[in-house]
Protein backbone atom coordinates (compact mmCIF):
# COMPACT_ATOMS: atom_id res chain seq x y z
CA UNK A 1 0.00 0.00 0.00
CA UNK A 2 2.80 2.39 0.94
CA UNK A 3 4.78 1.73 -2.21
CA UNK A 4 2.64 4.04 -4.36
CA UNK A 5 3.78 7.03 -2.29
CA UNK A 6 7.51 6.31 -2.79
CA UNK A 7 7.04 7.30 -6.41
CA UNK A 8 6.04 10.87 -5.63
CA UNK A 9 9.68 11.65 -4.94
CA UNK A 10 10.95 9.87 -8.01
CA UNK A 11 12.70 12.08 -10.55
CA UNK A 12 10.33 13.77 -12.99
CA UNK A 13 10.43 11.85 -16.20
CA UNK A 14 8.64 12.54 -19.41
CA UNK A 15 7.77 9.04 -20.56
CA UNK A 16 6.75 10.70 -23.74
CA UNK A 17 6.12 10.35 -27.38
CA UNK A 18 8.02 12.77 -29.59
CA UNK A 19 8.09 12.98 -33.37
CA UNK A 20 9.81 15.08 -36.02
CA UNK A 21 9.00 14.85 -39.73
CA UNK A 22 10.14 16.77 -42.78
CA UNK A 23 7.70 17.73 -45.51
CA UNK A 24 7.92 19.64 -48.76
CA UNK A 25 8.88 23.08 -47.43
CA UNK A 26 9.57 22.55 -43.74
CA UNK A 27 9.23 20.37 -40.67
CA UNK A 28 6.53 19.35 -38.22
CA UNK A 29 7.43 18.53 -34.61
CA UNK A 30 4.93 16.73 -32.40
CA UNK A 31 4.69 15.57 -28.79
CA UNK A 32 2.30 14.41 -26.07
CA UNK A 33 1.95 16.39 -22.82
CA UNK A 34 2.38 13.95 -19.93
CA UNK A 35 5.10 14.36 -17.28
CA UNK A 36 5.15 11.63 -14.64
CA UNK A 37 6.87 11.03 -11.30
CA UNK A 38 6.63 7.26 -10.99
CA UNK A 39 2.94 6.44 -11.42
CA UNK A 40 1.65 9.96 -10.68
CA UNK A 41 1.09 12.40 -13.54
CA UNK A 42 2.84 15.52 -12.29
CA UNK A 43 1.87 17.64 -15.27
CA UNK A 44 -0.87 16.64 -17.73
CA UNK A 45 -0.35 19.61 -20.04
CA UNK A 46 3.42 19.93 -20.38
CA UNK A 47 5.00 21.59 -23.38
CA UNK A 48 7.76 19.30 -24.56
CA UNK A 49 8.51 21.26 -27.72
CA UNK A 50 10.90 23.98 -26.66
CA UNK A 51 12.28 26.91 -28.58
CA UNK A 52 16.03 27.18 -29.16
CA UNK A 53 15.97 30.03 -31.71
CA UNK A 54 13.35 31.72 -33.88
CA UNK A 55 13.72 28.99 -36.46
CA UNK A 56 14.85 25.93 -34.46
CA UNK A 57 12.88 23.96 -31.89
CA UNK A 58 13.65 20.84 -29.85
CA UNK A 59 11.45 17.93 -28.71
CA UNK A 60 12.44 16.66 -25.25
CA UNK A 61 12.05 13.15 -23.81
CA UNK A 62 13.42 11.23 -20.82
CA UNK A 63 14.44 13.13 -17.72
CA UNK A 64 12.54 16.43 -17.56
CA UNK A 65 15.33 18.15 -15.65
CA UNK A 66 18.14 16.96 -17.92
CA UNK A 67 16.33 17.96 -21.10
CA UNK A 68 15.37 21.39 -19.71
CA UNK A 69 18.89 22.20 -18.57
CA UNK A 70 20.40 20.97 -21.82
CA UNK A 71 17.94 23.12 -23.81
CA UNK A 72 18.81 26.13 -21.65
CA UNK A 73 22.54 25.67 -22.28
CA UNK A 74 22.06 25.25 -26.03
CA UNK A 75 19.72 28.26 -26.21
CA UNK A 76 22.41 30.30 -24.48
CA UNK A 77 25.15 29.08 -26.84
CA UNK A 78 22.97 29.68 -29.89
CA UNK A 79 22.12 33.20 -28.72
CA UNK A 80 25.82 34.05 -28.59
CA UNK A 81 26.46 32.27 -31.88
CA UNK A 82 23.69 34.26 -33.61
CA UNK A 83 25.16 37.56 -32.40
CA UNK A 84 28.63 36.57 -33.57
CA UNK A 85 27.41 35.19 -36.88
CA UNK A 86 25.14 38.13 -37.65
CA UNK A 87 22.34 35.96 -39.01
CA UNK A 88 20.04 33.17 -37.82
CA UNK A 89 21.77 29.97 -36.76
CA UNK A 90 21.32 26.95 -39.02
CA UNK A 91 19.49 23.84 -37.85
CA UNK A 92 22.72 21.87 -38.31
CA UNK A 93 24.63 24.10 -35.88
CA UNK A 94 21.85 23.87 -33.30
CA UNK A 95 21.77 20.09 -33.61
CA UNK A 96 25.55 19.83 -33.30
CA UNK A 97 25.51 21.92 -30.13
CA UNK A 98 22.87 19.62 -28.66
CA UNK A 99 25.05 16.65 -29.64
CA UNK A 100 28.08 18.22 -28.02
CA UNK A 101 26.40 18.70 -24.66
CA UNK A 102 24.69 15.31 -24.91
CA UNK A 103 27.87 13.40 -25.83
CA UNK A 104 30.21 15.09 -23.38
CA UNK A 105 27.84 14.43 -20.50
CA UNK A 106 26.68 11.02 -21.61
CA UNK A 107 27.33 9.43 -18.21
CA UNK A 108 25.06 11.88 -16.41
CA UNK A 109 22.28 12.71 -18.85
CA UNK A 110 19.25 10.62 -19.61
CA UNK A 111 17.43 12.42 -22.37
CA UNK A 112 16.59 11.67 -25.99
CA UNK A 113 16.04 14.68 -28.21
CA UNK A 114 14.77 15.68 -31.62
CA UNK A 115 15.98 18.94 -33.15
CA UNK A 116 13.96 20.39 -36.01
CA UNK A 117 13.83 23.69 -37.86
CA UNK A 118 14.16 25.62 -41.08
CA UNK A 119 17.04 27.67 -42.46
CA UNK A 120 17.62 29.31 -45.83
CA UNK A 121 20.53 27.04 -46.77
CA UNK A 122 19.08 23.56 -46.26
CA UNK A 123 15.35 24.19 -45.79
CA UNK A 124 13.52 21.98 -43.30
CA UNK A 125 15.73 19.48 -41.43
CA UNK A 126 15.23 16.97 -38.61
CA UNK A 127 18.03 15.61 -36.41
CA UNK A 128 17.67 12.74 -33.94
CA UNK A 129 19.93 12.71 -30.86
CA UNK A 130 19.26 9.57 -28.82
CA UNK A 131 20.91 8.50 -25.54
CA UNK A 132 24.69 8.49 -25.87
CA UNK A 133 24.86 11.56 -28.10
CA UNK A 134 24.74 10.03 -31.57
CA UNK A 135 23.70 12.65 -34.15
CA UNK A 136 21.64 11.45 -37.11
CA UNK A 137 20.00 13.61 -39.75
CA UNK A 138 16.83 11.87 -40.90
CA UNK A 139 13.75 12.59 -43.02
CA UNK A 140 11.71 11.74 -39.95
CA UNK A 141 12.37 10.37 -36.48
CA UNK A 142 10.47 9.21 -33.40
CA UNK A 143 11.50 9.12 -29.77
CA UNK A 144 10.42 8.57 -26.18
CA UNK A 145 8.83 5.53 -24.60
CA UNK A 146 5.72 5.84 -26.79
CA UNK A 147 7.76 5.56 -29.95
CA UNK A 148 8.04 1.78 -29.50
CA UNK A 149 4.43 1.55 -30.66
CA UNK A 150 5.03 3.62 -33.76
CA UNK A 151 7.85 1.87 -35.62
CA UNK A 152 5.47 -0.36 -37.53
CA UNK A 153 3.08 2.53 -38.17
CA UNK A 154 5.75 4.72 -39.73
CA UNK A 155 7.29 1.85 -41.68
CA UNK A 156 3.93 1.55 -43.38
CA UNK A 157 2.72 5.13 -43.88
CA UNK A 158 5.84 7.24 -44.26
CA UNK A 159 6.44 8.87 -47.63
CA UNK A 160 8.78 11.64 -48.78
CA UNK A 161 7.53 15.02 -49.97
CA UNK A 162 4.22 15.26 -48.09
CA UNK A 163 2.29 18.50 -47.96
CA UNK A 164 2.16 20.48 -44.72
CA UNK A 165 -1.37 19.30 -44.09
CA UNK A 166 -0.50 15.63 -44.68
CA UNK A 167 2.51 15.91 -42.39
CA UNK A 168 0.58 17.55 -39.56
CA UNK A 169 -2.22 14.99 -39.80
CA UNK A 170 0.34 12.16 -39.76
CA UNK A 171 2.07 13.51 -36.66
CA UNK A 172 -1.20 14.01 -34.76
CA UNK A 173 -2.41 10.52 -35.69
CA UNK A 174 0.88 8.98 -34.62
CA UNK A 175 1.10 10.70 -31.23
CA UNK A 176 -2.53 9.82 -30.64
CA UNK A 177 -1.84 6.13 -31.38
CA UNK A 178 1.12 6.13 -29.01
CA UNK A 179 -0.91 7.76 -26.25
CA UNK A 180 -3.48 4.99 -26.65
CA UNK A 181 -0.94 2.29 -25.78
CA UNK A 182 1.83 3.94 -23.77
CA UNK A 183 0.99 4.64 -20.12
CA UNK A 184 3.82 7.12 -19.95
CA UNK A 185 2.32 9.25 -22.74
CA UNK A 186 -0.95 11.16 -22.56
CA UNK A 187 -2.80 14.44 -22.38
CA UNK A 188 -2.92 16.67 -25.43
CA UNK A 189 -1.05 16.59 -28.72
CA UNK A 190 1.06 19.64 -29.48
CA UNK A 191 2.60 20.34 -32.86
CA UNK A 192 5.01 23.00 -34.07
CA UNK A 193 5.33 23.59 -37.80
CA UNK A 194 8.41 25.47 -39.04
CA UNK A 195 8.99 26.70 -42.59
CA UNK A 196 10.19 29.78 -44.48
CA UNK A 197 7.16 31.74 -43.34
CA UNK A 198 7.88 31.15 -39.65
CA UNK A 199 6.59 29.03 -36.81
CA UNK A 200 3.05 27.85 -36.12
CA UNK A 201 1.95 26.13 -32.91
CA UNK A 202 -1.13 23.92 -32.81
CA UNK A 203 -2.97 22.31 -29.93
CA UNK A 204 -5.16 19.20 -30.11
CA UNK A 205 -7.05 18.42 -26.89
CA UNK A 206 -7.89 14.78 -26.15
CA UNK A 207 -11.51 15.10 -27.27
CA UNK A 208 -10.50 16.12 -30.81
CA UNK A 209 -8.35 13.02 -31.34
CA UNK A 210 -9.65 9.93 -33.14
CA UNK A 211 -10.80 6.92 -31.13
CA UNK A 212 -8.85 3.70 -31.46
CA UNK A 213 -9.59 0.05 -30.66
CA UNK A 214 -11.67 -0.50 -27.54
CA UNK A 215 -11.96 3.24 -26.89
CA UNK A 216 -15.41 4.72 -26.51
CA UNK A 217 -17.00 8.05 -27.36
CA UNK A 218 -16.83 10.29 -24.30
CA UNK A 219 -20.07 11.17 -22.48
CA UNK A 220 -20.87 13.75 -19.87
CA UNK A 221 -22.78 11.17 -17.84
CA UNK A 222 -24.42 7.77 -17.96
CA UNK A 223 -27.65 9.65 -17.33
CA UNK A 224 -27.54 11.18 -20.82
CA UNK A 225 -28.30 7.80 -22.37
CA UNK A 226 -31.21 7.32 -19.98
CA UNK A 227 -33.15 10.21 -21.53
CA UNK A 228 -32.84 8.60 -24.99
CA UNK A 229 -35.72 6.76 -26.73
CA UNK A 230 -34.95 3.32 -25.23
CA UNK A 231 -35.94 2.91 -21.55
CA UNK A 232 -32.81 1.82 -19.74
CA UNK A 233 -29.44 1.02 -21.35
CA UNK A 234 -28.56 -1.52 -18.66
CA UNK A 235 -27.76 -5.17 -19.09
CA UNK A 236 -28.58 -7.71 -16.47
Amino acid sequence: MDSIYNDLNAPHSMGTTIIGVTYDGGVVLGADSRTSTGMYVANRASDKITQLTDNVYICRSGSAADSQVLSDYVRYYLHQHTIQLGQPATVKVAANLVRMVSYNNKNMLQTGLIVGGWDKYEGGKIYGIPLGGTLLEQPFTIGGSGSSYLYGFFDQVWKEGMTQDEAEKLVVKAVSLAIARDGASGGVVRTVTINKDGVSRKFYPGNTLPLWHEELEAKDSLLDSLSATSPEPMVS
Binding site: S13, S63, M108, Q110, P130, L131, G132, T134, L135, L136
Partner: protein, 246 residues
Protein backbone atom coordinates in the same frame (compact mmCIF):
# COMPACT_ATOMS: atom_id res chain seq x y z
CA UNK B 1 20.54 -6.45 -20.11
CA UNK B 2 20.12 -2.81 -20.93
CA UNK B 3 17.50 -1.10 -18.78
CA UNK B 4 16.43 1.96 -20.67
CA UNK B 5 14.48 3.35 -17.71
CA UNK B 6 17.52 2.99 -15.44
CA UNK B 7 18.26 6.00 -13.29
CA UNK B 8 21.69 4.63 -12.31
CA UNK B 9 23.68 7.25 -14.26
CA UNK B 10 22.22 9.99 -12.04
CA UNK B 11 23.55 8.34 -8.88
CA UNK B 12 27.03 7.39 -10.11
CA UNK B 13 28.57 10.71 -9.16
CA UNK B 14 27.23 10.78 -5.59
CA UNK B 15 30.55 9.89 -4.01
CA UNK B 16 32.78 12.05 -6.15
CA UNK B 17 32.99 15.54 -7.53
CA UNK B 18 32.01 16.51 -11.05
CA UNK B 19 35.71 16.46 -11.88
CA UNK B 20 35.76 12.67 -11.46
CA UNK B 21 36.73 10.83 -14.60
CA UNK B 22 33.88 9.94 -16.85
CA UNK B 23 33.45 6.36 -17.69
CA UNK B 24 31.45 4.88 -20.53
CA UNK B 25 29.58 2.12 -18.85
CA UNK B 26 27.53 0.78 -21.72
CA UNK B 27 26.78 1.51 -25.37
CA UNK B 28 23.36 2.73 -26.58
CA UNK B 29 23.26 2.93 -30.37
CA UNK B 30 25.49 0.23 -31.84
CA UNK B 31 26.68 -0.99 -35.20
CA UNK B 32 27.46 -4.65 -35.84
CA UNK B 33 30.19 -6.41 -37.88
CA UNK B 34 32.62 -4.79 -40.29
CA UNK B 35 34.69 -6.89 -42.71
CA UNK B 36 37.84 -5.85 -44.57
CA UNK B 37 39.93 -7.73 -47.14
CA UNK B 38 42.95 -7.05 -49.33
CA UNK B 39 42.54 -7.68 -53.03
CA UNK B 40 44.57 -7.25 -56.20
CA UNK B 41 44.23 -3.47 -56.62
CA UNK B 42 43.74 -2.44 -52.99
CA UNK B 43 41.22 -3.11 -50.25
CA UNK B 44 37.52 -3.84 -49.95
CA UNK B 45 35.28 -3.31 -46.93
CA UNK B 46 31.73 -4.26 -46.12
CA UNK B 47 29.39 -3.14 -43.35
CA UNK B 48 25.63 -2.96 -43.02
CA UNK B 49 23.86 0.30 -42.28
CA UNK B 50 22.20 -0.71 -39.04
CA UNK B 51 22.20 1.23 -35.76
CA UNK B 52 20.69 -0.98 -33.06
CA UNK B 53 19.24 0.35 -29.82
CA UNK B 54 19.42 -2.67 -27.57
CA UNK B 55 17.38 -5.31 -29.34
CA UNK B 56 15.49 -2.78 -31.47
CA UNK B 57 16.76 -2.28 -35.03
CA UNK B 58 16.25 1.42 -34.69
CA UNK B 59 18.28 3.11 -37.43
CA UNK B 60 18.73 1.64 -40.88
CA UNK B 61 20.78 4.25 -42.73
CA UNK B 62 23.90 4.64 -40.62
CA UNK B 63 27.10 4.94 -42.66
CA UNK B 64 29.75 2.93 -40.85
CA UNK B 65 32.43 3.10 -43.55
CA UNK B 66 34.23 6.42 -43.95
CA UNK B 67 37.32 7.62 -45.78
CA UNK B 68 40.26 9.07 -43.82
CA UNK B 69 42.48 11.40 -45.81
CA UNK B 70 43.47 10.24 -49.29
CA UNK B 71 44.77 6.79 -48.48
CA UNK B 72 42.64 5.15 -45.80
CA UNK B 73 39.23 3.77 -44.94
CA UNK B 74 37.80 3.26 -41.46
CA UNK B 75 34.92 0.98 -40.55
CA UNK B 76 33.41 0.98 -37.08
CA UNK B 77 31.23 -1.29 -34.98
CA UNK B 78 30.03 -0.47 -31.48
CA UNK B 79 28.71 2.82 -30.11
CA UNK B 80 27.92 5.19 -32.97
CA UNK B 81 28.35 8.38 -30.94
CA UNK B 82 31.92 7.31 -30.09
CA UNK B 83 32.58 6.56 -33.78
CA UNK B 84 31.33 10.06 -34.66
CA UNK B 85 33.76 11.44 -32.07
CA UNK B 86 36.61 9.35 -33.54
CA UNK B 87 35.81 10.83 -36.96
CA UNK B 88 36.14 14.32 -35.43
CA UNK B 89 39.59 13.34 -34.05
CA UNK B 90 40.63 11.88 -37.43
CA UNK B 91 39.35 14.84 -39.42
CA UNK B 92 41.41 17.12 -37.19
CA UNK B 93 44.44 14.84 -37.57
CA UNK B 94 44.19 14.94 -41.35
CA UNK B 95 43.59 18.70 -41.33
CA UNK B 96 46.77 19.34 -39.37
CA UNK B 97 48.63 16.91 -41.61
CA UNK B 98 47.48 18.87 -44.66
CA UNK B 99 48.40 22.17 -43.05
CA UNK B 100 52.06 21.13 -43.00
CA UNK B 101 51.78 21.34 -46.78
CA UNK B 102 54.99 19.38 -47.10
CA UNK B 103 53.96 16.89 -49.73
CA UNK B 104 53.58 14.14 -47.15
CA UNK B 105 50.30 12.61 -46.10
CA UNK B 106 49.36 10.18 -43.36
CA UNK B 107 48.99 6.64 -44.62
CA UNK B 108 46.92 3.78 -43.22
CA UNK B 109 49.75 2.45 -41.05
CA UNK B 110 50.13 5.81 -39.32
CA UNK B 111 46.38 6.30 -38.87
CA UNK B 112 46.08 2.79 -37.44
CA UNK B 113 48.86 3.53 -34.97
CA UNK B 114 47.22 6.80 -33.94
CA UNK B 115 43.90 5.06 -33.34
CA UNK B 116 45.60 2.30 -31.36
CA UNK B 117 47.17 4.86 -29.03
CA UNK B 118 43.86 6.69 -28.60
CA UNK B 119 41.91 3.50 -27.86
CA UNK B 120 44.50 2.04 -25.50
CA UNK B 121 44.99 5.23 -23.52
CA UNK B 122 41.23 5.67 -23.09
CA UNK B 123 41.05 2.05 -21.89
CA UNK B 124 43.74 2.75 -19.30
CA UNK B 125 41.65 5.58 -17.92
CA UNK B 126 38.62 3.27 -17.69
CA UNK B 127 36.79 5.47 -20.17
CA UNK B 128 36.89 3.56 -23.44
CA UNK B 129 35.58 4.53 -26.82
CA UNK B 130 33.19 1.65 -27.23
CA UNK B 131 34.17 0.62 -30.73
CA UNK B 132 35.92 -2.06 -32.71
CA UNK B 133 37.54 -0.50 -35.75
CA UNK B 134 38.79 -1.76 -39.09
CA UNK B 135 41.40 0.48 -40.66
CA UNK B 136 42.88 -0.11 -44.08
CA UNK B 137 44.33 1.60 -47.11
CA UNK B 138 47.01 1.72 -49.76
CA UNK B 139 49.88 4.14 -50.13
CA UNK B 140 52.68 4.03 -52.70
CA UNK B 141 51.54 0.57 -53.76
CA UNK B 142 51.72 -0.87 -50.26
CA UNK B 143 48.45 -2.34 -48.98
CA UNK B 144 47.71 -2.20 -45.25
CA UNK B 145 44.82 -3.65 -43.28
CA UNK B 146 44.48 -3.60 -39.51
CA UNK B 147 42.00 -3.61 -36.66
CA UNK B 148 41.79 -1.99 -33.18
CA UNK B 149 39.42 -2.91 -30.39
CA UNK B 150 38.02 -0.83 -27.55
CA UNK B 151 40.69 -2.14 -25.21
CA UNK B 152 43.54 -1.42 -27.60
CA UNK B 153 44.12 -4.90 -29.01
CA UNK B 154 45.46 -4.32 -32.50
CA UNK B 155 46.87 -6.36 -35.37
CA UNK B 156 47.15 -6.48 -39.13
CA UNK B 157 46.18 -9.23 -41.50
CA UNK B 158 45.05 -9.97 -45.04
CA UNK B 159 41.48 -10.08 -43.83
CA UNK B 160 39.95 -8.67 -40.63
CA UNK B 161 36.52 -8.41 -39.10
CA UNK B 162 34.78 -7.13 -35.96
CA UNK B 163 32.20 -8.70 -33.69
CA UNK B 164 30.21 -11.55 -35.18
CA UNK B 165 32.26 -11.19 -38.32
CA UNK B 166 35.20 -12.72 -36.49
CA UNK B 167 33.24 -15.89 -35.85
CA UNK B 168 31.23 -16.19 -39.04
CA UNK B 169 33.11 -14.34 -41.78
CA UNK B 170 36.77 -15.02 -41.04
CA UNK B 171 36.48 -18.83 -41.34
CA UNK B 172 35.03 -18.30 -44.82
CA UNK B 173 37.83 -15.87 -45.61
CA UNK B 174 40.50 -18.23 -44.29
CA UNK B 175 39.18 -20.81 -46.72
CA UNK B 176 38.51 -18.70 -49.80
CA UNK B 177 40.70 -15.60 -49.62
CA UNK B 178 43.83 -15.50 -51.74
CA UNK B 179 46.14 -12.81 -53.04
CA UNK B 180 45.17 -11.31 -56.37
CA UNK B 181 41.44 -11.53 -55.92
CA UNK B 182 39.83 -9.45 -58.62
CA UNK B 183 37.36 -6.73 -57.66
CA UNK B 184 34.45 -8.94 -58.70
CA UNK B 185 35.76 -11.93 -56.73
CA UNK B 186 36.35 -9.74 -53.70
CA UNK B 187 32.86 -8.26 -53.75
CA UNK B 188 31.31 -11.72 -54.16
CA UNK B 189 33.36 -13.02 -51.25
CA UNK B 190 32.30 -10.12 -49.02
CA UNK B 191 28.68 -10.61 -50.03
CA UNK B 192 28.92 -14.29 -49.13
CA UNK B 193 30.13 -13.30 -45.67
CA UNK B 194 27.49 -10.56 -45.27
CA UNK B 195 24.73 -12.98 -46.23
CA UNK B 196 25.78 -15.44 -43.51
CA UNK B 197 25.85 -12.57 -41.03
CA UNK B 198 22.39 -11.55 -42.15
CA UNK B 199 21.09 -15.06 -41.47
CA UNK B 200 22.84 -15.53 -38.16
CA UNK B 201 23.43 -12.12 -36.52
CA UNK B 202 20.33 -10.75 -34.83
CA UNK B 203 21.58 -7.21 -35.07
CA UNK B 204 22.25 -7.37 -38.81
CA UNK B 205 20.03 -5.41 -41.20
CA UNK B 206 19.61 -6.07 -44.90
CA UNK B 207 21.08 -2.84 -46.22
CA UNK B 208 24.79 -2.65 -46.80
CA UNK B 209 27.59 -0.73 -48.39
CA UNK B 210 30.84 -1.93 -49.94
CA UNK B 211 33.79 0.47 -49.86
CA UNK B 212 36.88 0.25 -52.03
CA UNK B 213 40.21 1.96 -51.73
CA UNK B 214 42.88 1.82 -54.40
CA UNK B 215 45.79 4.02 -55.39
CA UNK B 216 43.22 6.06 -57.36
CA UNK B 217 41.14 6.80 -54.30
CA UNK B 218 38.10 5.95 -52.23
CA UNK B 219 34.63 4.92 -53.35
CA UNK B 220 31.66 3.64 -51.40
CA UNK B 221 28.71 1.95 -53.05
CA UNK B 222 25.12 3.11 -52.90
CA UNK B 223 23.23 1.21 -50.20
CA UNK B 224 21.79 -2.11 -51.42
CA UNK B 225 20.15 -5.31 -50.12
CA UNK B 226 21.07 -8.98 -50.51
CA UNK B 227 18.77 -11.76 -51.66
CA UNK B 228 18.24 -14.57 -49.19
CA UNK B 229 17.16 -18.19 -49.60
CA UNK B 230 14.41 -19.76 -47.56
CA UNK B 231 12.89 -22.15 -50.09
CA UNK B 232 14.09 -25.49 -48.73
CA UNK B 233 11.97 -28.53 -47.98
CA UNK B 234 13.74 -28.90 -44.67
CA UNK B 235 12.52 -25.38 -43.83
CA UNK B 236 8.98 -25.96 -44.97
CA UNK B 237 8.68 -29.14 -42.93
CA UNK B 238 11.27 -28.89 -40.20
CA UNK B 239 9.63 -31.35 -37.83
CA UNK B 240 8.88 -34.08 -40.36
CA UNK B 241 11.06 -36.66 -38.67
CA UNK B 242 10.79 -35.23 -35.20
CA UNK B 243 7.22 -34.37 -34.36
CA UNK B 244 7.02 -32.00 -31.43
CA UNK B 245 10.43 -30.46 -31.99
CA UNK B 246 11.06 -27.06 -33.56
Amino acid sequence: MMNLADSAPATNNMLGSEADSQRTLYPYVTGTSVIGIKYKDGLLFAADMGGSYGSTLRYKSVERLKSVGKHSVIGASGEISDFQEIMRYLDELILFDNMWDDGNSLGPKEVHNYLTRVMYNRRNKFNPLWNSLVLGGIKNGKKYLGTVSMIGVHYEDDHVATGFGNHLARPILRDEWHENLTYEEGVKLLEKCMRVLLYRDRSAVNKLQIAKITEEGFTVSEPYSLKTSWDFNAFKNPTLDAEGSW
